[in-house]
Amino acid sequence: MKALNGRFGLPHPMLSITLFLIWQALSNGISGGSVVLGLALAWLLPLFTRNFWPNNPAIRRPFRFLTYIVRVVWDITVASVNVAMLVLNPTRKPRPAFVVFPLELEHPLAISTLAGTISLTPGTVSADISDDNTLLLIHVLDMDDEADLVETIKRHYERPLREIFK
Amino acid sequence: MEILFAFVIGTLTASGVYLILRARTFPVVVGLTMLSYAVNLFLFATGRLVTAGQPIIGSAKSYTDPLPQALVLTAIVIGFAMTAFVVVLALRSRADTGDDHVDGQKEAFWPEPGAKPAPEETR
């Protein structure tokens, strides 16, 4: 069974589920055909591309991940307005800064997810990750307080991610 | 609309031609690409400009001429293959002649008439 799983199994179950769902969405409504084809694709595509995605970390808590996404989306929406204001207000000068963020996450995918999240939320962009994956360089558009920023990121994003990618 | 479209094609052609007449491989390749954009737009336009008549049966009340679109598709693919080839050839020429001039390094490659021939391979 394990051998079978190795060669013909589902290397990335989460991915397979996602692919299946997306396919149903794409197929313009659920039908016999789309389910069959969706299942086939959800099985085959991860299998074919498994070599390209080795040693992926298991996502322990998929539902935690969903709540994480919802939170991020909310953060983006709220904070966007701030940035828009900043941009559209010609009198306000931005106070940019490069901030080094010490990482607690270890897996590169987790780090990348964090970096991506930071970039998507207004006011911060992940500029670089150190070679040893311990530091994250963030460019901040308008910085009040560095410690505050680092703390916010750690609380809002890094800890949930640590739980998700265990 | 037609004037704008024609002007676009004219500009693309002119820019492409100008670049094709440059002396280095890179601008020439860019020029060829630009010219092929012009040609593709032109070929496409032979079916005339239609705003909301799709070439998909059942999608609209009136249809656009699908044939030029198919021809352009073929032309795009062929153009891509050719561009790829000419790009690689430009590199090859750079590797072989040490220069990116379209004629290679003139002195090194095209000996003037009357230049001394290489010594005979004799024993």
């Binding site: - | 094709i20 491989t25 020439v28 060829l32 010219l35 092929s36 012009a38 040609v39 593709n40 032109f42 070929l43 336009a45 032979t46 044939l67 030029p68 021809l71 073929t74 032309a75 062929i78 153009g79 293959a81 050719m82 561009t83 080839f85 000419v86 050839l89 430009a90 090859r92 020429s93 590797a95 072989d96 002649t97 379209v102 004629d103 290679g104 490659f109 008439p113 021939p117 290489a118 010594p119 005979e120 391979e121 004799t122 024993r123």
Partner: protein, 507 residues
Amino acid sequence: MNHWLTAPILLPLLGGILQIFLSFAPLGLRRTLGLATTSLILVVSISLLLLADDGAYRVYALGNWAPPFGIVLVLDRLSALMLFMTALLALFCHIYSTRGTDAQGRHFHALFLFQLMGLNIAFLTGDLFNLFVAFEVLLIASYGLLMHGGGTARSVPGLHYVVLNLIGSSLFLISVGLLYSVVGTLNMADLAVKVPQVAPEDLPLVQAAGMMLLVVFALKAALLPLCFWLPRAYANATAPVAALFAVMTKVGIYAILRVYSLIFGDQAGPLANLGMDWLFPLALVTLAFGVIGALGADGLRKLVAWQVIISVGTLLAAISLHSEASTSAALFYLLNTTWVVGGLFLVTDLIARQRGSAADRIVTAPRMRSRTLLSVLFMIGATAAAGLPPLSGFFAKVLILESVKPSPEMGWLWSVILIGSFLTVIAYSRAGSIVFWRNVEGHVKDPGHLTLPVTVSAGALISLSLVIVALAEPINRYADATAEQLHTPSAYIEILQTPVVTRRESL
């Protein structure tokens, strides 16, 4: 519908695909399969030639879509002749390449076969846009072949060849598009029907399209002032490739013959014989320039490459006269020049291999190992190419000279051709006597041995000029019939009535 019409296309295609799969297989296997494919193509071409000789048009509606909607293949005498001419040349070039050319780089056999596929599509297709596709197939393969074997001398001429042809392709598309935008069709027979009916206010568009198309074909055919890419490109290609390329300019000539007799022929109303008045003087200047090039050539390959241009000038001069007799003469000349020039490229290569660093340059060098054989082959080839008796070139030239009736054109044509011949003789005799006879003491280190395949293929191509003489009568009869067919486009137009195979609901 005769499925064999697709064979000259499908055979090289399948053979080429096979070569892709076998790209890491032993060379011997690839050679065997490649040669087998080319031989099969020759066999098919011969059968098609025999088939076409009855003078009927054979139409093959690809995809079972009736013309003018689908693409058709049309076999007539001209296309059959081109197929045969190409296949025979290709077989000998292919045999020659097994001497080691094919081992100099990857994918030689695949490229070679695809080249044939492109050529054969061009000769068979009855659709103008498909002719464009055919040109692209044969061009891209020729680019690959031209660059085959690497070497620093090839890349710059290769680049020029490719860039110019890319511009040419753009022109082709513009012309086809322009034609379509007025007459709304792509099938050549349908174009022939509709071009004469074009409204007067649309005439300039069609005329521009026709003239630009002529530029495209003239570029492929290497007509002055569009011929400059040729000598260096051909002179630097590997021998079998250069030899095969003897047919490349002929594709342009074929296209001119086809399109300008069918679509812009005598019956095309206000656009009748479009561009032919330009073609004649340009062809003569091309011829003259080719001769000058040959006189000034410092290497045998260059000399032969200029011979290609001489041939183009001669052919187009005859074709532009637009009479049955001159077309027929041009066709006769076409066979002669294509094979002989191909053979000369091969012989030149054999010579170059035995002359060490002097290679093909017209300079003093140590004596060749196989001097006698090579000199005989060269002499026959040169005689045939220069158009001296008793070889085919002479008869071809006489046919062309004869085909024109007394007129100012006759004066020009005769003078240029005859003086050209004279100077060509001087060029060849000078080159030959220096290369073969003006020897210095010494030995070339490790001169190439003549092996059976290379000698046979080079010799065979050269000897074809003798065969043409022996078979001059039937060949000429075929050429006459072909010219007659070409000059009667009304028969071609009838292919539009081709019925398709009745469709069943499902197979």
